[in-house]
């Protein structure tokens, strides 16, 4: 296995008109990180949709100031971090603290339609891992049932792990996305 290590930082100013140029810049950095054994088409597709959604999320939710992106790669995986100090994710402080950490009850359905179900799994008070499951098309009656918000689902389905952490001390929102090669 080729040893490959890279670390890239990128500041995004949360403006929509720089979305595509920022995406292309970061994809270029990702491409440079790929080891020889990785499937470039698959990894670049997944990174393209993940970074697009993280940028879109920054424009919608990060507010004024910049959003920091960090991309770290080694021979086995790529990790993309998005960090901002905008409003915390709506799920913060909604965990049932009576339930112990890593208990199955800390898995909560946050959206569902006949196509997909999306879950938030509280791994600690302000650390959430997202997972999804395919829905049963037997329940599909009408297009009216289909959700219209796909950002978190797209990242969850494109990645090998997707987590959100709210750092109370620094008031930072940290999205972490892992893509295995």
């Amino acid at each position: 296995m080729q040893s490959c290590a890279c670390k890239v930082e990128f500041e995004f100013d949360n403006t929509a008109d720089k979305l595509v140029s920022s995406l292309e810049y970061m994809l270029g950095q990702v491409k440079a990180c790929l080891p020889k054994h990785a499937n470039p088409d698959d990894i670049l597709f997944r990174c393209k949709v993940i970074i697009t959604e993280l940028l879109t999320n920054a424009i919608k939710h990060a507010g004024k100031g910049n959003t920091r992106f960090d991309v770290e790669g080694d021979g086995a995986k790529l990790i993309i971090y998005k960090t901002d100090t905008g409003m915390p994710l709506y799920l913060v402080n909604t965990r049932n603290n009576a339930v112990p950490e890593n208990n199955a009850e800390n898995k909560r359905l946050i959206s569902a339609d006949p196509l997909s179900s999306l879950y938030a799994n509280w791994e600690s008070e302000n650390h959430i891992r997202f997972t999804s499951e395919e829905g049963s098309l037997d329940d599909f009656l009408s297009v009216e049932q289909v959700a219209e918000h796909f950002g978190i689902l797209i990242i969850t389905n494109s990645s090998d792990e997707f987590t959100y952490t709210y750092n109370k001390k620094t008031r930072e929102n940290i999205f972490r996305v892992r893509v295995d090669f």
């Binding site: 879109t56 219209e148 796909f150 950002g151």
Partner: protein, 114 residues
């Protein structure tokens, strides 16, 4: 944003002329779709071959417009998608909701047979 390039009694083909469809233009895009459906009352075949970048906001607008089309007993059919956009649609299973064809002409043939 959408140019009607062909019409028949059952359908219209709309070429999407933008290359980037994201949250900065998704509301406007949806409004154009709704206007076309209202004015023409025909199945809309969207030729998306010019489109290179999309995000979840655009896909949400597309689903919302499809709901409106279905409420009018019409449809929105997709054609000419780049492979990566088609893969994105499959990733969140919207291929179970939209009829998707390689080319607009192929879509028009299928709509005529409905």
């Amino acid at each position: 944003m959408i140019t009607i390039v062909k019409e028949s009694p059952k359908y219209m083909i709309g070429e999407v002329t933008i290359t980037e469809a994201n949250l900065s233009n998704s509301d406007e895009f949806k409004a154009e779709l709704v206007k076309l459906l209202d004015e023409h009352q025909k199945v809309l075949i969207l030729d998306l071959q010019e489109l290179k970048y999309v995000d979840s906001a655009f896909l949400g607008a597309l689903v919302s417009a499809l709901k409106y089309a279905i409420s009018l007993k019409l449809d929105i059919v997709l054609a000419g998608l780049r492979n990566d956009i088609r893969d994105l649609i499959k990733l969140i299973r919207l291929d179970k909701v939209f009829k998707i064809y390689n080319y607009a002409e192929e879509a028009s043939f299928a709509v005529n047979k409905m």
